[in-house]
């Protein structure tokens, strides 16, 4: 069920980000969402794209260090309290969120949230049981 996320290791050096964005652009891959985790020396650039395999291939051929990680994607109503509800459910079941980021698509009334947890299957089960809609790979492609 989980959604594929691309993680790219970015050294804190001039021009590194350009290499990444250019190779994704040249591969014709569409970015749905992104987030950056950074330290003083390096960052990890995380992307949700419409074609993760193609993006990975393009990035690797331009010398980037890339991995595909499975993350939990959910779709929630774009309204106050929506995210709080999800976080509360996870807290109740002691599921720790390593990181998360959200994005809104143009036409829908929903927001999408990407969650990184230790056990995807467990988190997905609990979220489904609590009525939260999960995102699948095809949802990302069709966004």
């Amino acid at each position: 069920m989980a959604v594929k996320q691309i993680s790219i290791f970015v050294e804190n050096k001039e021009g590194k980000l350009v290499t990444i964005t250019d190779s994704i652009a040249n591969a014709g891959v569409d970015i749905r969402a992104m987030s950056v985790a950074d330290t003083q020396d390096f960052g990890i650039f995380r992307l949700i794209v419409n074609d993760p395999e193609k993006a990975k291939e393009a990035l690797e051929s331009s010398g980037c260090f890339v991995s595909i990680t499975q993350v939990v994607g959910i779709s929630i109503p774009d309204e106050p309290g929506s995210l709080a509800k999800v976080v509360n459910i996870l807290a109740r079941y002691n599921i720790n969120i390593e990181y998360m980021y959200a994005f809104i698509t143009v036409s829908k009334k929903n927001a999408s949230v990407v969650l990184r947890v230790a056990d995807n299957a467990a988190a997905e089960k609990i979220l489904t049981e609590n009525g939260i809609k999960l995102l699948e790979e095809k949802d990302i492609v069709n966004m």
Binding site: Q5, S7, F9, E11, A37, D38, T39, D41, F42, G43, I44, R46, G63, C64, F65, V66, S67, T69, E98, Y99, R116
Partner: protein
């Protein structure tokens, strides 16, 4: 009143007499080693050389070399020439792949070494009126113990400070009126800056001389240190394998270091062929100890590149002089006074499950070495979290510190991101070269 020489009978001895002493002592030392050190006896037998073939210094070239690898292989007792019960001390230095080199000293060896250091202190103007502040590290490193012992022999008031704790160094220096400072040149420069920051002028301290060694430094650094501390700065050379600091020392001429030839024979060889080269040639320095009991070394290859000179010195000493090491014939680096071999770094990487794709970056900031290592991550191991990556860096850093004795800054980088030359990662970028530092 301070004397000009510590042992004038040796230090100013006519060259022919030095040769005579060396001839006699060499014959004795070779026989002693052959009789007591199986490891070296085997080397001699393999080369077909018997002790009776060595009749004087002109036969020295017949003897096999000892290399750092031999010391590692023979670790710990293989090159010990006497019973442990006759030994009173060990010192130790880093080996090429982490196994350390251990040198043994009898009381005779310690006395001889300390006398060499005493000669260096007296050559720097030291005497019984002096207060000698020793801020080389004390411990397995020979720096602290050597100058400490030498200072005792001269009769200086000795301040056994060891390294670090700059505030305390400065407090004792000012309150106890230190006149001679012994440390690495980079620490001397750092002390100079720290004194300035505290508002002291060079004339506020009582220092007259500094004896600096254990790491490469330049003439420019010498002038800077002399100006900052208001002293005359003297170079000193040595290595644990041979005894420690004081194998050679500088006089007031500041034109190369006099080698204590009554205890050590110096040769220059071609590092490629091993052939001895005439005095005045640039090549690898090789030492033979003449009267050591615990850990005698015959034809030990230092890997230091330098030039020897027999030119007469105005100080009156007749001992041969050596230039500062001008480079190395191996890949050893000296970082913050510590010997570091790339093979040690590779050993750590292997133990930690990394490929040997790394790059060492050395630089000098505020007269102190910076030491960074970029290490490529394994292609199949990308932890999707900065915390996991910094955790890996910390683990590598701790392992490096345990192996090298100094702390590098570790940077994990992407696989294949380090610049390659003929398929191999470029291992070393030494930016210190722009300051004229070559080792």
């Amino acid at each position: 009143m301070n004397n000009k020489y510590y042992q004038p009978e040796y230090e100013t001895m006519p060259v022919e007499e030095i040769k005579k002493i060396q001839d006699e002592k060499l014959v004795r030392q070779v026989k002693y080693v052959y009789d007591n050190v199986k490891y070296y006896r085997d080397l001699m037998d393999k080369k077909g050389v018997k002790p009776e073939d060595i009749k004087g210094t002109e036969d020295l070239h017949k003897l096999p070399f000892l290399k750092k690898d031999d010391l590692r292989e023979a670790y710990p007792y293989g090159l010990l020439a006497t019973d442990i019960k006759n030994c009173v001390r060990i010192h130790s230095t880093s080996g090429t792949t982490g196994k350390r080199v251990v040198a043994f000293y009898t009381q005779h060896d310690v006395d001889m070494w300390e006398e060499c250091c005493a000669r260096a202190i007296v050559a720097a103007g030291g005497g019984t009126d002096d207060v000698c502040q020793v801020c080389y590290g004390y411990g397995l490193f020979t720096g602290g113990a050597g100058l400490h012992g030498g200072s005792h022999k001269v009769g200086c008031l000795t301040l056994p400070m060891s390294s670090g704790n700059t505030d305390r160094q400065i407090q004792f220096m000012m309150d106890l009126n230190s006149t001679i400072l012994c440390c690495t040149p980079s620490y001397a420069a750092y002390l100079g800056e720290s004194l300035k920051e505290k508002g002291y002028k060079p004339e506020d301290n009582k220092l007259r001389a500094g004896i600096f060694g254990a790491e490469p430094w330049t003439e420019e650094m010498r002038r800077d240190i002399e100006k900052a501390l208001g002293i005359k700065a003297y170079d000193i050379y040595g290595l644990t394998e041979i005894s420690g600091p004081g194998v050679a020392f500088e006089c007031e001429e500041q034109k190369g270091m006099h080698i204590n030839e009554d205890h050590f024979i110096a040769e220059i060889i071609d590092p490629e062929t091993g052939e001895p080269l005439p005095i005045g040639s640039k090549g690898e320095l090789v030492f033979t100890s003449l009267d050591k009991e615990g850990f005698p070394m015959l034809r030990y290859r230092t890997r230091d590149i330098c030039i020897l000179s027999r030119e007469k010195c105005s100080c009156g000493r007749t001992f041969l002089r050596m230039t500062k090491p001008l480079g190395r014939s191996d890949d050893m680096m000296i970082i913050r006074g510590v010997n570091v071999f790339p093979s040690q770094i590779e050993t750590v990487l292997l133990n930690q499950g990394y490929a040997p794709n790394y790059q060492i970056i050395l630089d000098r900031v505020n007269n102190s070495d910076t030491f960074d290592i970029n290490i490529e991550m394994n292609p199949d191991d990308f932890p999707d979290s900065p915390k996991a990556i910094t955790g890996k860096e910390k683990k590598l850093q701790d392992a490096m510190k345990a192996m090298l004795g100094i702390n590098p800054k570790i940077h994990l980088v992407a696989p294949k991101s380090i610049e390659r030359s003929e398929g191999k990662a470029v291992r070393l970028i030494d930016k210190r070269k722009r300051y004229g530092i070559t080792i």
